[in-house]
């Protein structure tokens, strides 16, 4: 018979026990994660006329807007080495995947406040189901992006098989950051409001719709931005070239893995404190 003990002591006092229960909860949450993801996706698309179309309307309109701004000369983007439409489309799609991954943990927890406050279940399931939904939305985006690459004059090649790697990287980095934001975000709504503001700024120092400037302060920001290698390589592999900054990319992924694990521990240790404050 399982014995559970609740005491005021922090779970971190007994790392062995914590690690065992982390694995156990992760295993226990798989079925629930699928079930919750299916529920949300079904409900999301059942109540909408255009259904899945909404998943790619946003990046498509952003792309059209930037192509217009570029071709009309309102905004001059330096040479990108490929048709600008492809540059902007791949950039915005990859960036959007990143922001979705980053927002997911907080959004999942906020959406399940009622469950969290009243029922006891492995909370990892909420994060996992967010990831499942993320893959689903990414799949839809790829369905539109790949044909669009050919139509817009791109030349995708075998590098395409590397794209899933970059997707995993985006999910890792986004979720890791998201897990660190979530605890504070659950307490203070300021965090939720701040995320889009920060991300907006971050987008302009990442090669999403702009190319990396050759020199100046902006060039430094682009260089130290950890998303630069991710977006650069993601785009390169989509359009059929080898990309660059591979060492940086590997380091960033390694760091993201460590962060993700730490974020998970943070999530577990703080959840009961947060539940008490949000239900009080």
């Amino acid at each position: 018979m399982p014995i559970t003990v609740y005491t005021p002591a922090s779970a971190l006092r007994d790392p062995g026990l914590m690690f065992r229960s982390m694995i156990a909860d992760l295993r226990a949450s798989r079925e629930l994660a699928w079930s919750l993801a299916r529920r949300d996706l079904k409900a999301q698309y059942r109540q909408s006329l255009f259904g899945y179309v909404w998943a790619f309307i946003m990046p498509l309109t952003t792309t059209v807007a930037w192509v217009y701004l570029n071709s009309s000369g309102i905004v001059k983007v330096s040479n990108t080495g490929m048709p600008y439409a492809i540059y902007a489309l791949t950039g915005t799609l990859l960036w959007q995947m990143f922001t979705e991954a980053l927002n997911s943990p907080l959004a999942q927890l906020n959406g399940a406040k009622n469950l969290l406050a009243k029922l006891s279940f492995p909370r990892e399931a909420l994060i996992l189901s967010g990831m499942i939904k993320w893959w689903f939305n990414v799949g839809i985006k790829l369905l539109i992006i790949i044909p669009a690459l050919f139509i817009l004059g791109g030349t995708p090649d075998w590098h395409m098989v590397l794209v899933p790697l970059i997707l995993v990287a985006i999910l890792l980095i986004g979720t890791a950051i998201g897990l660190f934001i979530a605890p504070v975000g659950l307490l203070y709504t300021d965090v939720g409001r701040m995320i889009p503001v920060v991300l907006q700024f971050a987008m302009y120092v990442t090669p999403v719709v702009f190319a990396i400037p050759a020199s100046g302060f902006a060039a430094v920001l682009f260089r130290i931005n950890f998303m630069t290698p991710v977006i650069l390589n993601g785009r390169a592999w989509l359009v059929g070239s080898g990309g660059s900054m591979h060492t940086e990319l590997t380091l960033i992924c390694g760091a993201a893995l460590v962060l993700l694990f730490l974020g998970w521990i943070l999530f577990r240790t703080t959840m009961s404190v947060l539940i008490e404050r949000m239900s009080a």
Partner: protein, 408 residues
Amino acid sequence: MEQDVLIKVEGVSKKFCRDLKTSLRYGMADVRDEVLGRPRTLDLRPKEFWAVKGIDFEVRRGECLGLIGHNGAGKTTLLKVLNGLIKPDAGRIEIHGQVGALIALGAGFNPILTARENIYINASVLGLSKSRVDERIDEIIAFAEIEDFIDMPVQHFSSGMTVRLGFAVAAILIEPDILFLDEVLAVGDISFTIKCLNRVRELMRTSAVVFVSHNMPLITSFCTRVVVMDHGHCVLDTEEIGLAVNHYFGLAKNTVQISGSGQASVMDLSLAADGVAVEGDTPTLLQGQEVTATLRVSIEKGQTAEVNLVIADATLTGLINIPVMDEQGSYIVIGPGEHDLQVPLGVVELNAGLYSFIVGIRNATTNITLCRHQGLQPFRVHADRVAWTKFVRTGVSKVLAPKPTTVQ
């Protein structure tokens, strides 16, 4: 095996904060302490109070512990700590075995999806596998009595149907060693309530139960032990359920509410049991006593009035109507001035508990309410045993001689 202690609670305390902004700040401080592995501070910080303080008890398999107390006494908070939703600030809880909770029925229901889809989702939130639901889905649907609506979106369900569905999913599927119940038994109509009670009784036989309720008849019929809570503290822990229920009612603050046009008022209401006046703020009557009420009313000039008495229970639900009538069975009409009315209340057949009077005085011709006093002269009824019904009638029954059976 039947005597295993499944729930062991030792000195459990939990503090809450009165102010939201401060609470959030303390939340951040607690997050920091958790992450640094620091022990929690046991002192109350400004604006904090003990929502639960120093609670101890043990529950064995087959026992049912009732947690009673008024709103805000800390019952639900304690249940949340037991259920592992929030951590205790002090003390220790040991839980042996699988926990099942009939709390927040239908949590996780999505209104857009059909009842069938929601059954699977709800079950997985409760930690039950799809195959388990597949086996028993017909049983769930039959229990909830929603056969005709099983593929309808839950948003079109009545609230009663939703709760029934939620109860059915949880109650059919769980096989807990430990069962937590929080005010969930009074769902739906009476026939459904009986089904729920029977199912809970089945579950109780094999589990250790903690039962939170304001429904004293249910507490009386289910519990083997009761803990009375008040302001977070345990004020009584007893196996004598009747005593606990009495104590619970004793905690109630009685307030008199007066409404009406104000052209009449009740000056005094006193009681006499078996011809002897009973004294005190909340006098105690014994079951079986013959009781008389003496009512002093005052009527303003120009009014003629009729008086009506009602005995109400602790929830101010009227139980007995006592019109103030004469021998002919018509209302006594009284004129302006002060009057003393003697009203026979009959033999006390009320179940043990707390009661009060509602007195209404209305104009004899226009029927306009001149005054209505609610919660007047509370009194307690004492009995050696507590029933789950509102009334108790005792009499002497006998076994009649058996009918001779004819043999062919």
